[in-house]
Symmetry: C2
Subunit: 340 residues, 2 copies
């Protein structure tokens, strides 16, 4: 597939490298001239014969399959592309979309919210995406072609709106990189990531504030404090953009945590707080021990919107798309562990 990747940060850069390594024709573009140079320099290093390394395999035949090119403009990047991946932050999407008005190929994005992006779109051929891959670092120099190995990559699927053929094209491309393709509506996605990704950042920030208010407490913090606050070291504007950009879904997810904490708070006032806490905590402990859920055996599913959304709702994912696009291979969690 002929793919253009717009934005060569951690995700875009890793995607260019992963797609090129899998034999796709990839052209990248970034608005930063310095980033374009970094990407070009690495492309040259990858495709040049490795004369200094006697154990390197000959690259004459595979050079084009492993390399990528870097365009000097967005228009040049998408000129021959079948798929354009917009790997730019949410606030930059409208400007990029306005430059893509003539583009007739398939568009996807990689931002961490899907309802706001869906609502930006007009009649483009669009399928929203969200690779759940991250690192502490950012920028092209942090990119890693194996970043998507085993990671969950949500592809949004809106009944009556998303073209199933386009969805399957992207799913085939992404499963090929080793990612788990998770089908979900944009709203389902935003609620899920609010619960497991955005709210944890708010809890970490709140715990940091209270745990470091006293120097004595800060000095006594150990493993549980370290783990519970780790993501609070993320840049504040990134946490704010992520949570604030998904505020409609984060608010009810945080309310759910506050309700669970209010129950635990009440138990502390119980005449027998140990017993009261014990019975409240048991289901959470069982759930944490059953997480991450173990997948069952691979199964074949028809390539239908209803079957795909049902798969996602049960915690399953797609691992491969059949050549004829009529069926797909899926994994889903073993029910009796997951129903704990």
């Amino acid at each position: 597939v002929n793919v253009a990747v717009i934005g060569l940060g951690l995700i875009g850069g890793s995607l260019v490298r992963a797609l090129a390594a899998h034999g796709h024709r990839v052209i990248g573009y970034d608005q930063g001239a310095g980033t374009r140079e970094e990407a070009r320099a690495l492309a040259k290093a990858v495709t040049a014969p490795r004369v200094a390394d006697p154990s390197a395999r000959p690259v004459s035949g595979s050079a084009s399959a492993e390399g990528w090119t870097v365009a000097d403009s967005l228009t040049e990047a998408v000129a021959e592309a079948e798929v354009a991946v917009l790997a730019v932050p949410l606030p930059a999407l409208p400007a990029v979309l306005s430059e893509l008005t003539g583009f007739r190929g398939l568009i996807t994005d990689v931002t961490s919210v899907k309802v706001p992006v869906r609502d930006l779109m007009g009649d483009e051929r669009f399928v929203g995406g969200h690779p759940m891959a991250g690192k502490e670092t950012s920028g092209f120099l942090a990119s890693d072609p194996s970043l998507f190995d085993g990671c969950a990559w949500v592809l949004a699927l809106e009944p009556g709106r998303t073209a199933l053929g386009d969805w399957l094209t992207l799913a085939a491309l992404i499963t090929d990189l080793g990612a788990r393709v998770v089908p979900a509506t944009a709203a389902e996605h935003d609620a899920a990531v609010a619960a497991v990704s955005h709210v944890p950042h708010l809890l970490a920030a709140a715990l940091t504030s209270t745990g470091t208010a006293s120097p004595l407490a800060a000095a006594l913090g150990a493993g549980s404090f370290r783990d519970g606050t780790r993501v609070a070291a993320t840049r504040p504007e990134l946490i704010a953009a992520m949570c604030g950009g998904n505020a409609a879904a984060v608010a009810p997810a945080l309310d759910a945590v506050l309700a669970a904490l209010a129950e635990l708070r009440l138990a502390l006032d119980d005449a027998d707080p140990v017993a009261a806490l014990s019975s409240l905590l048991a289901p959470a402990v069982a759930a944490r021990r059953a997480w991450p859920p173990a997948p069952g055996a691979p199964e074949s599913l028809p390539a239908e919107v209803g079957a795909l959304l049902d798969l996602g709702r049960r915690g399953g994912w797609v691992t491969a798309i059949a050549e004829d696009r009529q069926s797909l291979t899926a994994l889903r969690p073993i029910t009796d562990r997951n129903s704990l």
Copy 2:
């Protein structure tokens, strides 16, 4: 020093081994006959000449310094002890104390709350302790003589109640094992560990409950969910005993987190949630990046109750006690980083 360790679980077992390795005369006791046998078997293995290992150094001279003995009763264990370490859980303390009525030596404990233990005591020579060392595992077979290397070990110091000489005896013993001895009153200790150790377990449990309520969300959970919920896999009765046993301090610490979360929740409803969150999150992010605080240069302090408690309140700790017991060496965090 002649030390008896009562209870040979992870902490007691590790302490027996660490003290023996530092040349103290140690006698252990556990009410479980199986545990006593495990401890005896390891003592034999440590003190026996290692004939199978040609690189082993001769042990004839050092055998007694590295070994320990295991008594068959609590009375036998403490018969010649100057210090008795009660390494049993809080609920077992009253029974052990009632068996120690004739003991005239110094008593300490290792439980994770200090006010309830202080309130159990009559006129014993007692200094409460809490080594902040833990592992996922438990029992003598999980013990590790290096468990206390670099860990914070609170020694409770109550003005007008604790004998400073007894406090210094224990501090010398414990700093010798490589631990950071933190002086604090029992109430200060309980509030601090509520904030950085007990509340994180409740947050982890609440986050697990809400994050696994939907199989889709559970399938999308990644690093921030994994870290934020890790300690929720602890046995529920341990979390309940820890938090419920310190309910008086955990309740206000949880209230502080709930207040911080309520502010963040309000920001989500702001007309510009990204900006509102950003300004709320910035201090927490700065605090997390400054944690753990970097210690300044070693300094000498007089061995006085006021100076010790002040050191603890500023996030400092004792690293060594002078031979003459008149002064001590302390480290405290560099103020300009800690005041962030």
